[in-house]
Structures are given as structure tokens and as C-alpha cells.
């Protein structure tokens, strides 16, 4: 499990790696939330390209970040999801749950 944060202007990117489950989600969550609080981005990118496995804990991670970003109206993009991760995300109906557009998981906020 790993998480690397990069900040470029108003964009925070979280590069996640390894297997994302209830055990590993906590560290990822803390790293992302700290970076978001510090930088108040207009866009958060969660890059899953190095994540080899994810269960519903990953949905909780994405949904939780989405809720937090709604305070400032920032957008959330989820990128690099493998077929296994895409399958879990689709099941969660990410597009239906919140104002999320499933095409490549570009999750935009209203404002």
C-alpha cells in the first residue's frame, strides 16, 4: 500500500498503490485529507493506476472524499482504474449516487 501526493497549482493528485481495503484505506484517507485541507484545491485527482485490488472500502474512500470536496465545490477525478476496480465502482453506481459522470469516472461537482 502506498500513497503519494503531488500538488500543482490548484490541483492535488493522489497516486494510490497496492491493494485498497479497509486496512489500507485509513492511511490513504489521512494523506489525502491533509493535502486537501492544506491546499484547498479546485480539483482532486485520485490516480488508481498502481492499485491492484479494491473492495467496497475503496468506494467509501472515493465517496468520503467527494463529500468533503462538496464544501468548496471542488471537482474529483478518478483515473486509471483496472477492470476489477471499474467493476466495483460500477456496482456502486458511482454515476447514480451523486452527481457523477461515469465516463472514465470524471466526477464533477455542481459548482
Amino acid at each position: 500500500m502506498s500513497v503519494k501526493i503531488s500538488v500543482k497549482g490548484e490541483v492535488v493528485t493522489a497516486y494510490l498503490g497496492g491493494e485498497l481495503d479497509h486496512h489500507s484505506a485509513r492511511e490513504m484517507r489521512e494523506a489525502i485529507d491533509t493535502a486537501v485541507e492544506l491546499n484547498i484545491p479546485t480539483l482532486l485527482i485520485m490516480d488508481f493506476s498502481q492499485v491492484s485490488f479494491m473492495d467496497s472500502s475503496g468506494i467509501g474512500l472515493v465517496m468520503g472524499r467527494f463529500r468533503n470536496l462538496q464544501r468548496t465545490g471542488a471537482a474529483l477525478h478518478v483515473t486509471g482504474t483496472s477492470p476489477q476496480i471499474t467493476k466495483v465502482m460500477k456496482l456502486a453506481g458511482i454515476g447514480r449516487l451523486a452527481k457523477m459522470d461515469l465516463g472514465g469516472f470524471e466526477i464533477e461537482n455542481d459548482k
Partner: protein, 147 residues
């Protein structure tokens, strides 16, 4: 039905074991030569059931998780995940998508994932005694290619 092979393990409900549990079940099932997608489905469903034991059944304590995997003829796999935790008051309600008793970081989708990633799920639970989740999955029989 005749059991062809069987594997049992018991472990503590530490979150570090979530990875171990799904990896161990996947390694056992590999003898049936599953597709990558089938293997991922099984790993994901097992991860959900085991995580529920850790997060819900033994909320503020550590208890034992019992896992049994049985292989039957025609590539039928039966996975049993049992805890002796708090039990579920209303199983039907608990299985509804988005239902969770822990707000915040949990999506309430564990049972929905188990349901759609396997062929059959049954849940037996007694309050104060524990919960048993049984997952069935039949692997596709693949045409052998001799070329």
C-alpha cells in the same frame, strides 16, 4: 454432493489479515485454473465478508474468523466465512444496497458486492452468537485447446 477438496483456516480478526484471507482463498482456488476475472470476483467477495467480521462482528474486540473453502464437482466452489460476533438483527435489511450501521467511510455495499460477484449468497445470523456467510461460485468450464 461429493467434496473434491477442502481447506479450513482460523484467524484473528485483525485488519492486517484482510489481505491474507483473500490471498489464501485465491491461492487455494487457483488449482481449478480460474480466469483472472473469476479469481478477482472471489477475492473481492471474500474481502467483503472478512472485513465485515472485523468491522462489525467484533467491533471493539478481537475474535476468531473461520473460513472454509470446499470444491465440488463441475468447478463449484463453496466459501463459508463465520464469526462468533454480535450478529445481525435484520439480515434482509442489512443486505440492502447502501444500508450501513457505520456512517462516514463505509458505503454499505459489502453485501451488494458479494451478491453480484458470486452466484449465490446465504447469510445466517443469530444475535449475540454470530454470523455465517456462505458464498457459492461456479467457474466456467473452459474448452481445452490442444493447439
Amino acid at each position: 454432493m461429493k467434496t473434491i477438496n477442502k481447506f479450513t483456516m482460523t484467524m484473528e480478526s485483525c485488519s492486517a489479515n484482510e489481505y491474507f484471507a483473500r490471498a489464501a482463498v485465491a491461492a487455494f482456488v487457483t488449482q481449478l485454473d480460474p480466469t483472472l476475472e473469476e479469481l478477482n470476483d472471489i477475492k473481492t467477495a471474500v474481502s467483503e465478508a472478512v472485513t465485515n467480521c472485523i468491522v462489525h462482528a467484533y467491533k471493539n474486540s478481537i475474535g476468531k474468523i473461520y473460513i472454509t473453502v470446499e470444491i465440488f464437482p463441475d468447478n463449484l466452489i463453496k466459501i463459508k466465512i463465520r464469526d462468533k460476533g454480535c450478529g445481525i438483527p435484520d439480515v434482509e435489511k442489512a443486505m440492502e444496497p447502501l444500508y450501513t450501521t457505520v456512517g462516514g467511510e463505509r458505503a454499505g455495499l459489502g453485501f451488494a458486492v458479494m451478491q453480484s460477484f458470486t452466484d449465490h449468497i446465504s447469510v445466517r445470523s443469530v444475535i449475540g452468537k454470530g454470523t455465517t456467510v456462505t458464498l457459492n461460485k461456479k467457474l466456467e468450464l473452459r474448452v481445452k485447446c490442444n493447439a
